[in-house]
Each structure stands twice: as C-alpha cells, then as structure tokens.
Symmetry: C2
C-alpha cells in the first residue's frame, strides 16, 4: 500500500494511518506482499498481519488492535518478541499513537473496573484466582509474584526473591516481638519470611481466596500459624495497632482515587510512631495502564508516579526516609518468569488453550519491554511517622552484615547507636 | 499571672494566651516573680522574659516575638538552648501557635522577598555575602555550607564534608571527560572536587559575588581553572549541553512558583540522556519557613516537600532513581557548626556586634532542633532522563569500593555490566 496504487479508499485510509505511525520507527508491517514502514532492514523488527480486518482494528486502536490480533494468531511477530515490543513501546509513547477510540475505551474501563470494595474483589479474582497450579509452573518455589532483587544480575530467581524479602525486612528495621500488618500479601511469602527470620507477628490481608488458602497451608507447614494470621479481607478493613505497615505490589490495585482512604488506613494502623514500606510499579508521569492490559490482565490497575504515591505520606505528615527504583530488577525478574513460562507452555495450553498462552506471553514480554524502556518503574518507598526515633544512620546496613543505627532522641544523636543485628 | 489575680486586663489577656500555648508543653515562662505554664519541673526548660512589652509581642506572634526578644536580650533561655528549641519546635506545630499576625506577616514576606531575578540577587546577597571571613570562622576548610555526610557519627566535620562531596559524585556516576553544570555552587567545593577526583569539566553558577571570587581563587590555587568555570550569574541563564546537572542547597532559594522554569532549565541542560541530583532542605507537608528565619536569615527561602520537588522530574518525564533522607546528618553538621561558632564568638562580636551573635546562635540552634524533631528534612534526589542507559545495578557501590553497573541496553541487561571504578 505504500506505493499508494492499490486497494479500496477505506483500505488506503487505514494503511496510511498505520504507515504514518510506523514510519519513524524501525518496525515493519507486512500483509501479503504489501509492506508498510521502513524497509531498510537495519536491525528492524516487524509483524505479519493476516487480514484486512486485523489491520483495520490496528488502525482504529493500535494497542488493542495489535494485542487482540496477536492473541487470536492473526498477527505474528518476526524475530525476538521482547525486542519488537521495546520498539513498539517507544512508538506508543508518541502523540500519533493516540486514538480517539482508545481514549474512549479507557474511559469506559475506568468506570467498568472501578476499585469499589466489590469492584476490587472482582478485579483481583480475575487475575490472582486463575489457579495456583498455573502460577506454580513459572514462579519461584515461594510463589513471590512481585519484582525480585538481584544482588548481582547473575543471581537465580530463587536467590533474588529471597534477597527481595530480606531487603524489605532490612528497610523496615524489624525487631523481634514487633507486630506488622501487610496489605495484599500474595501467597504469603513476605509475611512468613518476616515471622521466621525477624521474630515478628504478622496480620496479612488479601482478597484473593486461592492465595489466602495457599498461604495458610504454608504457615501451618512451617509452624508459623501462631505468628502469622492470614485474613481474607479488603485492606480497607484493617483494624488494630501495629509497629510497621508493609505493602508489596498492591498499590497498583488500589486506584489513585482511593489513596486518601489508604492514607487513613495506614495512619490508623501505625500512627505517628510507626514506619512503613510501599513497593509498587510506578510511572515517570501520570499515565493509565495500557487498555489491553486492563482489558485482559489487570482490570482496574493503575501505576502512579512517585509524586502521586507520596500523597499518602504527605497527608499523614510522614517523613520519606528512602526511595529506591528497581526497574531493571523487574525486567530481569520477568525474563526469568517468561523463560519458565515458555518451558511450561504445553501444560499451560492444556489448562487454558492456545489463545491464553499467547495472551500471557504478550503480557510478560510486554512488561519486560516496559521496564527496559522505562515506561514502567518500580519504586520502594520507606516512610516513618513524625514520632519515630530509630532512624538508620546510613543505608550501608542494607548492603553489609554490619551497620550502625542512630537514635534521634533528645539525649543526643550519638549516644544510642549500636551495631545492628544483621 | 497564673494565679489570675494580678495585672491589668490587657496583661491578663496576653499572659492567658501564652499560658494556653505552653500549658501542654514542658516549657516554663517566667517574668519577674510570675510563672506561666507547667511548674512540675520534670526535665522542663524555660525562658525568662524581661518586660511586659516582650511578653505582648510573644502573645501577638510567638515566633517573631520570641526570636526578636531573644536577639535583643529581652528573653533569656534557661538550660540548654537546643533542647529548649526542640520543645518550642514541637509546640509551634500545634494549631494554637498560629496567630493572625504571623499569617499576615508571612504573606507580606512572600511578596517583599519574591524570587524574581533581582529579588533573588538581593535575597542571596543578604546571607551569602555577609563576609567570607565570618564563614571561615566556623565552616570546614573547604567552606562547604550544606549538610555533610557522616559515614559514622564520630567522623569529623572535615571528613564528613569530604564524604558528602564523594557521595554526590558517586550518585551521579561521573566519568572522566564528562561535563557537568552546577546551579548554586557556594564557595566551589563540589565543583572542584568533581574536577579533581573525577576528571570532569564543570560550569558552576552562583549569584553571590563573594563566593564566586573565593571559588575562582581556589580553582587557580588548585590548578583547576582550566577545568572549572565559575560564573557569576542566575541559574535561569544556564546555557549549553551537559551530561549531568547538580544542585546542592539551592532549591530552597528558588521558590515553589519557579519550579516550572527550573525544570525547563534542567531539561535544556541535560535533555533526555543526562542525569542529575538535587540536594535540598525539605518538609513532610507544605509549610513555609518560619517568618523569623525569612526576616533575618534566609529571605525568600522555601523548603518544599519531596512531592513538590518531584514536579521538576515529572514535568521532564525523568525517572526518579534514588531518594535519601539525611536529616540526622544535617542536625549533626549544625552541631559542629554551632560548636565552632561558639568558640569564635568573641571574633563574631567584634565583627557584627552582640545582637548578631544572638541572632545567628538562635538560627543555628533552631536548625538543629528542626532537623532533630523532624520539621526539617534533607533530601538527595537522583534522577535520569528517559534515554539514559547506564543505571547502577544496585546502590551497593555507594557504600563499597567495588560495585557493579548494569546497562539497560537492548543487548540484554547483563551483557554490559562491569566493575565500577570506585
């Protein structure tokens, strides 16, 4: 169609739109013998579109059109999928990728998937209650389904998830006998790690029934059922007083409009003397999740900018103690997951069929692309109430087995510090 | 007056107001044989007010009334000044400390001290051009007039300022041959450190003439004049393209209303491929500096919340890489400064007279109190443009002489990393 001499007026209109979108990028689009975009082949990657209807859907909404075309096998990617998606991610950041249809669809999703209490239950059920057996196929043995922390890039996934749990505990400065509340506990790995290695008691909330049941079984098996209580309930129902609040990978499911309420929940939980940690997927600037991701993978999800998330601290007069960006670690984590997923692909096909396989491949590969390109970020934010006195003197203790703690008490900054127990 | 049976109606009104303010705190207020506030003496601290006029000014505006009364010697503090100011800082956070007069005065200051180009010049001149000889009396030998970094609380001030300069360079990942722009360079210590130890070229901006002249002399003495250019000009006039932007202790003088313009300056300087660091005094929630501080010490100054400062990153689509809170380090730095200041107090009296001595003592001691109590925070924010690929794999390299760097390039996250040069 680039030669402009073939097809109906509608077809020319649609292919012209696709052509304008891809012309500045190294992406090729091929349908039959027709080729759109750059053909210099300089390391470029491309897609093959099976029919005009698929092309039309892409022109109307590049994001959903491509994603759904890929699920249905009407679009094939030539070459490395992640590499192609990195280019596509860059492309989709451009103004010309915006379509009125996509905007309208996103507005509709916002209402259809709102995180009211019943809405959250539905949204969470959609993803996390798929089947524990499915997640076991490609997660680590502790079933940690959030960004890992690789002390070195060559660490295994098992090592990196263990290191992440440890990093969170160190950042929280947990002490034996303290009590911790966790909002959104997944399959319970962090709650169990905190209890086992730091001697704290934990109340862990989650509205995914499959996850809670798994976590309770684990607690019993590890003899930690007396120390860790897994509660099948919404974070909005957290009650009681705690030394620390922690939430890993839940803020994305809260929705920006509910941060005020979340700030109140945290305040009620830890007051002015506690501290907390929020670990979440973030953005550089406010931007909704891809409509395709919300349609198929994470209904109701929203990744805030760091600034948006800090509303929670500012409302509570909490000091931000430390912020770390781990986006490369999430890219690496997802590489491990995708590799394991591909090894288990026959089993996944048996469980959910070929379209599901392609849908989840696109989700995992697209997430790698987003974290590599930087449209997705991963923030760990540590905060402390105004009355909390135990503040680490430096962050060196996170990286060594020895560290020094300061006490900001009135007796002087120096008098109380002593080697930490790491 | 607490016995309610003496003095005129006005006097009773004023003393009643002071009494209501201090009744919940351990602060005692004494004038002659009259005593306000708690008298249980349980570790409390107190002030002695010389006359009714001073008490009236305190009732009208506790902040200015106390501060100006202290300068003039009409108020004496019994016991440790910093300890008293910690209690006073807590007290001033309460709703009852707010006075209509103080609010009005703050509004007036906002206009009178606005950070237009000429306003900034006046504001900066007021503080930083006092006299290099004065600052030499109590700063370290490099004349670093910002929060130091104490690897351990027992480090000397000289060591801690050196460590701060080093920490900033490590966070910026400076490489030989790169060029750096610095906004607000003080007496030039960081610019010279970067050039000498990291082999970069630096353009450093400052509108304090005294500081710039000192810095130029230092550059010549250290043989670095070819590598570091000190420019007597406003940050708004920064031109040219750089690998990195750094600003230590200037954001407080920019004013929140000018962040949009500052974001544009940074964007023009480093584009999408650069990175930068902002080091500034911050707040947990939006709150102007004390009117007394702005009247006497830092005209036009404003310490933003982290959230407010992040507007600069969000506007530029920059990724926040790392945020560290060093408030205890600023308390410690100020303790060193106050101690040196007190040792030089005879010389300061000769230079500026006894009221200046008391004014600066109150400023230094009050700042210690603010950083200890937590009404003041100190943030170091590292950010990177969307195209920047060299991202440290972890933050361990800040704390060890060995570290690993990752390259987020398309070839894979692991392929390019190599030991850093620290």
């Amino acid at each position: 169609m680039s030669n402009g001499d073939s097809g109906s007026p509608i077809e020319r209109l649609l292919s012209g739109k696709i052509e304008r979108l891809v012309e500045q990028s190294p992406i090729r689009v091929r349908m039959g013998d027709k080729e759109l975009g750059r053909r210099d082949g300089a390391g470029g990657c491309g897609i093959v579109v099976r029919d005009r209807g698929t092309l039309a859907r892409m022109a109307l909404d590049p994001e959903i059109g491509f994603g759904d075309g890929y699920i249905e096998g009407r679009i094939e990617v030539e070459g490395d999928l992640v590499h192609f998606l990195e280019e596509a991610t860059r492309l989709m950041q451009s103004d010309r990728a915006r379509s009125w249809y996509n905007r309208l669809f996103k507005q509709w999703l916002r209402f259809a998937q709102a995180n009211t209490r019943s809405g959250s239950a539905k949204n969470i059920h959609h993803h996390y209650d798929l089947s524990n057996d499915f997640y076991k196929l490609w997660l680590d043995r502790r079933m940690v389904y959030t960004c890992a922390y690789f002390p070195a890039p060559s660490a295994t996934l098992e090592e990196a998830q263990e290191a992440k749990l440890e990093l969170v505990c160190r950042k929280l400065q947990l002490q034996p006998g303290e009590n911790v509340v966790e909002a959104g506990c997944g399959w319970g790995s962090l709650a169990l790690h905190m209890a086992k290695h730091y001697g704290v008691t934990v109340r862990a909330f989650n509205i995914s029934r499959e996850q809670i049941e798994f976590a309770r079984t684990q607690a019993k098996m590890e003899g930690l059922a007396g120390q860790v209580e897994f509660i099948e309930d919404d974070y909005r129902n957290i009650a009681g007083r705690f030394d620390a609040f922690v939430s890993v990978g839940m803020l994305e499911h809260v929705g920006h409009e509910n941060y005020r309420e979340l700030a109140g929940v945290i305040r009620n939980a830890i007051g002015d003397a506690g501290r907390g940690l929020l670990h979440f997927i973030g953005r550089n600037r406010p931007q909704p999740f891809s409509a395709w991701i919300r349609k198929h993978i994470f209904p109701g999800a929203y990744a805030p900018t760091l600034r948006e998330a800090l509303e929670i601290c500012e409302r509570n007069n909490y000091a931000v103690v430390d912020v770390e960006n781990l986006r490369l670690h999430y890219a690496k984590t997802l590489e491990h997951w995708l590799e394991r997923y591909e090894r288990a692909v026959d089993r996944v096909t048996e469980m959910f069929g070929p379209e599901f396989v392609r849908m989840w491949r696109l989700y995992l590969a697209g997430s790698i692309a987003g974290f590599r390109v930087g449209t997705l970020q991963l923030f760990q934010v540590v905060f402390a109430g105004a009355e909390r006195r135990e503040i680490p003197w430096t962050r060196a203790h996170l990286y060594t087995r020895e560290g020094a703690w300061a006490d900001a008490g009135e007796a002087g900054l120096e008098s109380e510090w002593s080697p930490a127990r790491y």
